[in-house]
Amino acid sequence: MMPASDKFFHHCLDVFLVVTLIVVVIPLWSTITQSFRPNTFIGSNLEGMFLPPWKWSTAAYHALLGNNGFLLAFTNSLKILIFGVATSLLLTIPMAYCLSIKTLPGRKLLTIFVLLPYLFNVGLIPSYLVISGIGLTNHLAAIFLPSAISTYNCLIMRGFFEGIPEELKESARIDGAPEWYVLVRIILPLSKPIILTIGLYYGVSFWNDFLHAMLYLNENSLQPLPILLRNILIASGMNEFVEVNAFGDAPISAIKAASVFMSAIPMIIAYPFIQKYFTKGTLLGSVKG
């Protein structure tokens, strides 16, 4: 029998979670319904949220999917996501593993060097000078290569690796296994939670990166989704030639909502698969700091 105080606490928790759910779901539902709103709809945004589905219009989605610019931007974002996550994990995992080896000579010094850029940000101009100086302008790699190793993610991963029993590594080393073998055959198979979690962190960061794309990708054919979304979202504000609508007859508010929703689809699809590893990965990584 649960004590009364525990019951009360659980009820309060239920209420809090329901309120949080409502706060999260309402804007999401508003965006979804706005993306399906027909041009002929008359009413407030609130009334629009309760419009029956048989009155919805897919004009905005037709306009977006029929727009070559949108598909190209989506493809560019996917490329950045895939190559970016792969590169980041390929670089972060060995670095985190090295830092987790307690007997590594100069480990403390190396950790300080890793922490320094995290504490002191050089700012935009020096970054721009370095990235353009090494010729990354107009390359998709400019989005993910400079930030391929995140100090925060690296330290979380290091903490996770430190939590793996030392005996496992020692037994392999005693049998003559080199360090890379220990990493690949022993550590990585046990590290699925942290790899997926950190991969998700990197993925979200690269998918949403607007600033680097705006600064370094001058070729319009390379521009990813955040740039196009930004242009769409302020389209009716900046376009003085308002006699033409780049997306035909679809209402601009529906276009905006549809583009926001479509750009979130990859993350919405990926997250449920990674969710079960998410809490475990972050928690275990953060415990052993």
Partner: protein
């Protein structure tokens, strides 16, 4: 000993990593005195302000690129600047800091001024004689003055948006249904707004209409509540941020009449005659709202109201609905104005790097070609007989095209005319072509956005030319100004004379007085006062 050795190694490494950067010597891009090989193709990198950024750039096989290559041996590399002005500034500032500015680029005046001070932008005085045709249409004396600093011109300023292209619009069918005449004075306007709110002008039995619709749209010369509410401020002689007359130069907010204008708008809010969403609307929400019949009076841009694509939803929703372009309300002193107008220029700057590389002559050739008949029509409308035809008056039209889907107005063809901002100069051909008359699909009405524009330009306006170049307030002052005005309207602060005077005193203290003084001085020094 080993411990000491370890510490020594660490200290030496740290010292080395600190000292070495001091001696680092970056490479210098001298680029000086380079002469172009007359036979080699010249690459010109152009960052342009797109006509519709969201529509995408011109295709790689765009005909204009081939013509430019064949005629002038120029490889033109195009990059569309971001839509948002802040993003444009960040991109250009970053490129400037990295000495990586493109050869020719559009730039906003505040950023342009800083780049000139840093020596990153070339003097273009020697380019004007090389562009005689372009100078006739684009580079007038005013525009050259706009980009002159210390007697030298550092930018090529083309005409910007069409001026006085907005007006006060009133639902004619609502006036007729309620037996009302077109309002003249502010009192008339209030009565009509009340009637539109309370007397069900759309006859649907619901209390779902309002007198006036607006949204907050401000810029540096239309501060406070912005341009959508300016017809009411114009009625009190305080439209826009600045008064640019010699007699009363200064910030309009410091004018006692501003309180009267604000009181009028407060009455609108208190009488509930303004669409309550006006404080949260963005531009497209506002435009969707009038097409949905939310309100009966508004200030709107001619093309946003009357162009085919924009009027269509209203026509479908209300085939019997119509609007008239009304005179703005007359205040107690007989003053009226739709709002404040200025003539904006688009500045295209040539980077110092491009000048040092000897590219100015080629850039002048390119720009002169853009102003030739071939360039003007190609960049402005596309290919003749494919994207447009010329009517009897020589105006581009989409009538009679073999394939209507390739008309320059079709969404798919917009990328072909992304550079039209660089060739348009608000000439008669453009106005006629941009705003052709058409018959609405549902109601069969004849709509003529060109006539709408001409009518809007005949209404009274307040001349504030040059006020967009006056010093801007700092972020805190701007926030104080905008928030303060809204607080009076929403009732957070009571709008009484005493409260207003106290707020003005505070406004002056937080920098308003200095801003006012700086603005007046700048206007006087640059002969902007009339």
């Amino acid at each position: 000993m080993t411990e000491m050795l370890k510490k020594l190694v660490v200290l030496i490494t740290l010292a080395f990593s600190l000292i070495v950067p001091v001696f680092a010597n970056g490479t210098q891009d001298t680029g000086k005195g380079k002469k172009l090989d007359p036979n080699a193709p010249v690459t010109i990198e152009l960052w342009y302000g797109a006509a519709a950024t969201e529509a995408g750039p011109p295709p790689a096989d765009w005909g204009a690129l081939k013509i430019i290559k064949d005629k002038f041996n120029i490889n033109l590399k195009l990059t569309a600047l971001p839509s948002a002005e802040n993003d444009q500034d960040v991109k250009i500032n970053a490129a400037g800091a990295g000495n990586a500015l493109p050869d020719l680029f559009m730039v906003r005046r505040p950023v342009w001024q800083k780049l000139v001070q840093q020596g990153l932008i070339a003097n273009v005085d020697d380019m004007y004689p090389q562009m005689p045709n372009r100078c006739k249409t684009h580079y007038t004396e005013d525009s050259i003055t706009f980009t002159t600093i210390n007697g030298k011109s550092y930018g090529l300023a083309s005409p910007g948006a069409i001026a006085k292209n907005e007006g006060v619009l009133i639902r004619k069918d609502w006036l007729d249904k309620l037996g009302l005449k077109e309002p003249v004075t502010t009192e008339d306007y209030m009565n009509v707004m009340k009637a539109f709110t309370e007397k069900d002008p759309d006859g649907d039995g619901k209390a779902d209409t309002y007198g006036y619709g607006a949204f907050i749209e401000t810029n540096n010369y239309e501060e406070g509540l912005g341009r959508r509410m300016d017809p009411f401020f114009g009625a009190y002689g305080v439209a826009g941020t600045w008064n640019m007359t010699k007699a009363n130069a200064g910030l309009n907010v410091l004018n006692p009449a501003y309180f009267d204008a604000l009181s009028y708008v407060k009455q609108m809010v208190d009488n509930n005659v303004i669409d309550p969403n006006w404080l949260s609307y963005k531009k497209d929400d506002f435009r969707a709202a009038w097409k949905q019949g939310k309100f009966g009076i508004m200030r709107e841009q001619n093309a946003a109201y009357a162009a085919a694509a924009n009027y269509k939803p209203f026509d479908e929703n209300f085939p019997n609905g119509s609007w008239i372009i009304a005179n703005p309300p007359k205040g107690p002193d007989g003053k009226s104005a739709v709002g404040a107008f200025t003539t904006g220029y688009r500045i295209y700057a040539v980077s110092a790097k491009a000048a040092q590389a000897g590219k100015k002559a080629k850039i002048a050739q390119l720009l002169e070609w853009m102003s030739s008949d071939e360039g003007y029509y190609l960049l402005g409308w596309g290919v003749k007989d494919v994207n447009y035809k010329l009517d009897a008056k020589g105006v581009p039209t989409t009538k009679g095209l073999a394939d209507p889907s390739k008309a320059f107005t079709a969404p798919e063809m917009i990328p072909l005319t992304q550079l039209k901002n660089m060739v348009y100069y608000n000439g008669a051909v453009e106005i006629a072509a941009r705003y052709p008359a058409y018959t609405t699909a549902k109601s069969g009405k004849i709509m003529d956005p060109g006539d709408v524009l001409l009518m809007m330009q005949t209404k009274p306006w307040t001349n504030v030319i040059g006020s967009d170049t006056l010093p801007n307030p700092n972020a805190d002052l701007k926030r104080f100004y905008e928030q303060g005005v809204l607080e009076f309207l929403t009732g957070k602060r009571q709008l009484t004379k005493d409260n207003w005077n106290a707020w003005i005193a505070e406004f002056k203290k937080v920098g308003g007085e200095q801003w006012n003084a700086d603005g007046i001085k700048y206007a006087k020094d640059n002969n902007l006062l009339k």
